[in-house]
Amino acid sequence: MKEVALAVEMKEIVKVYPNGVVANRGVDFSVEEGEIHALVGENGAGKTTLMKILFGMEQPTSGQIKIFGKDVRIHSPHDAITLGIGMVHQHFMLVPSLTVAENVILGIEPRRGWSIDREKARKMVEEASEKFGLPIPPDEVVRDLPVGIKQRVEIVKALIRGAKILILDEPTAVLTPQETEELFESLRNLTEKGVTIIFISHKLKEVKAISHRLTILRDGRHMGTFVTDEITEEEISKRMVGREVELVIERPEPKPGEVVLRVEELGYVRDDGVRMLNGVSFSLRSGEILGVAGVEGNGQRELVEILTGLRSGATGSVKLHGEEILGLDAYGIRRRSVSHIPEDRVEFGVALKAPIWENVVSDRYWKPPFGGKIRIFPKVMKAFTAKAIEEFSIKADNPDTPVMMLSGGNMQKVVVAREFTSNAKLLIADQPTRGIDVGSTEFVRKKLIEARDSGLAILLVSADLQEILQLSDRIVVMYKGEIVGYFPQNRGLTEEELGYYMLGVKRHEPSRLKEAIVA
């Protein structure tokens, strides 16, 4: 192999956070000029910390950094930008009410006298967008743009500041397959122009598709750097997780029973006048999983919140075992044997400072055997929780551990433990595996299938298409608050095909969409 200059060389990076968490334990990481280098690892493996150090947002406890062969200390993002490093964060760093041009030139505004030279600003943006092959509309307000374009704005923002090294933190997490393909095309383009790209991801398929080389991190340690073409997905995931992972989950044929949930003509207009749901109709039987696919922000959150009683003001009808439940509050709905795994576990799923046992019984502490007329019985609750910790393989010392001390995956298992032991007839699972490690993901998915087979009706809302395809018996696709696609089974269905419906390119006939209500 020929000698190539190194753009980035990080040596023996150690990062210990003030609270004692060790994020990087002596990581070596180097990137060649002009390559696309993937940084892979599970959540919590230390990828983002390593990149935050490179971008000056965190200071390493020890270790050296060389940029283009020169020893450097990077104290702030400003330093990083000066050195030619740009970062596209997972949460976009854009100001929604400003225009694209204003966002791009923020901090480096061209001036004419005291004013911003708007003509020049627009020209700068147009030139950069032309040069790098990233078309963006300079005068549009960022708020109204689709996610894919927002991301392009972020990339242009970095490049216009002279970035030669571009860090992308999980850039495809919010994109549809089509948008992802476009992004990859742009990235390949950029490397031809001499830009070096660091691509953080845990989606192995994408890593295989885009990167030249890859570095694997596990538990803050460097697990090897490889030429992408010389390593298989199985080997990568083995090194990421430290054991063999079943990438395919076994799913026996569903045996659907009677209709549990029947949603008809559900509509909802948000306080600010935006219509978030329009004519949403489907039904769900016991013993089956109905997947709801869609790009985030197309009404899924509202749908879930309405079905679980967290949001009021919807029109239409929601029948649970034939009983109208629209308008009931969360307590009323839970009492009717509905359980809910919320999208945001930290905000809605758990009480962080409370111990595991309080979290596990928080939906039933008032009823026997956990509570009597006057008092509650902590001993019973703890014993119950100890069993749940074992059954759901939650990594914790004992039921008294505060949930805060657990990793994301184990926190989610606490939520899952509560929702799966509540004897529910209907489970609404909203992004049940988002942001948790591969091991826990596998566990949660297996539990979902198990529960389905024992007769639970499951509504699975997920932005992860792989998850939707893997678990769902039937699938609906949401776009702009409507159901635009219905697939009575997932055999032969591809992520690409679903992507067309998620983007609103394709749409099923109304007669086909009606089939989503099965009697």
Binding site: F92, M93, L94, L98, L106, G107, W114, K157, R275
Partner: protein
């Protein structure tokens, strides 16, 4: 009724609306500059009060109205710096720090007034100076308009200049862009190397300066003395007027003048012997009504908006 109509339609009435609006316009500009940067300035009231006090005292001791004004402005800016330091360096809650400064200003001015003049109520016993009025040539000779628009206090004209200045600053200059960016998404600003703390310091200092002008006007133009708690809630009314006017200086000015109108009306009613206990209440009742009507109209506007043509808001949270 005739009497009221006649007095409202007069040039004197327009003149008095402009006059009573002046301190509010300054204060609203102060409110806007801080609001836009995401650091709402609850201490406007205290800053105005401080400026009013020091304007009178320093002008009395130096014999110069202009030095008095500078001292007043400086005192308001100092208070703003204190607020900025508490909130941005010591991470105190902004609202609590603001309330503390308001109480401090109220107490300190009375205390110092007593030390200096021996009077706890007003500075009437000290001879202080006022800033001049300005007659505008040509305009002053036009009937009605001359009486309504000319002959105002110099700070009144400056207030309208401040509106133009603030509008330009916010929407045309690099600083304005940064103020708005910092107010809406501080992380985004930080990620491109803008110091959020510095920008917010600037916002609060400018806000204090505006409040200072408003306060100086009260004691060195509107009247020629300082009285305890003489701002009587104008700093808070300004926050309401700013909310009403939205994120533009022009809107803020109109909001301020609406309240100016309410205040001027209350004086007119007093003149026709409606009890002052009642008329004094009017600007505050008006604040409540105006905010309620405004909030309702915003909701109604959104309800009526056509649903299908509106794009769904993208949700970038992950």
């Amino acid at each position: 009724m005739n009497e009221i109509a006649r007095s409202i339609l007069s040039a004197e009435f327009v003149y008095s609306v402009i006059r009573v609006s002046t301190p509010l316009i300054f204060a609203v500009m102060g409110a806007l500059l801080s609001e836009i940067a995401g650091v709402i300035n609850i201490a406007l009231e205290g800053m105005m009060l401080m400026a009013a006090f020091w304007g009178v005292i320093v002008s009395a001791f130096t014999g110069s109205a202009w030095l008095g004004m500078l001292a007043g402005l400086a005192s308001a800016v100092l208070l703003a710096l204190a607020l900025a330091y508490f909130h941005l360096n010591l991470r105190t809650n902004l609202i609590l720090a603001g309330i503390a400064l308001n109480l401090f200003a109220s107490g300190a001015t009375v205390f110092l007034l007593y030390l200096i003049s021996g009077d706890k109520g007003s500075s009437a016993s000290i001879k202080s100076y006022v800033l001049p009025r300005v007659d505008i040539p040509l305009l002053k000779d036009i009937p009605f308009f001359g009486d309504a628009l000319s002959g105002h206090h110099i700070l009144t004209y400056l207030a309208f200049a401040a509106v133009v200045f603030v509008q330009y600053l916010i929407y045309r200059t690099p600083l304005g862009l940064r103020l708005r960016a910092v107010g809406e998404n501080p992380e985004a600003a930080e990620s491109v190397g803008i110091s959020v703390r510095r920008v917010r310091y600037i916002a609060l200092v400018l806000s204090g300066l505006m409040a200072g002008f408003g306060g100086v006007f009260l004691s060195m133009g509107y009247v020629s003395w300082f009285a305890r708690d003489m701002t009587s809630g104008r700093g808070f009314i300004a926050l309401a007027a700013q909310a009403l006017g939205g994120k533009t200086a022009i809107g803020g000015m109109l909001g301020a003048m609406l309240f100016g109108l309410a205040e001027a009306l209350s004086y007119t009613f007093q003149a026709i012997r409606i009890p002052s206990e009642f008329t004094n209440m009017m600007p505050f009742v008006f604040t409540l009504i105006a905010l309620a009507v405004y909030a309702r109209s915003v909701i109604a506007r959104h309800r009526k908006a056509p649903s299908s043509s509106q794009p769904l808001e993208e949700n970038t949270e992950t």
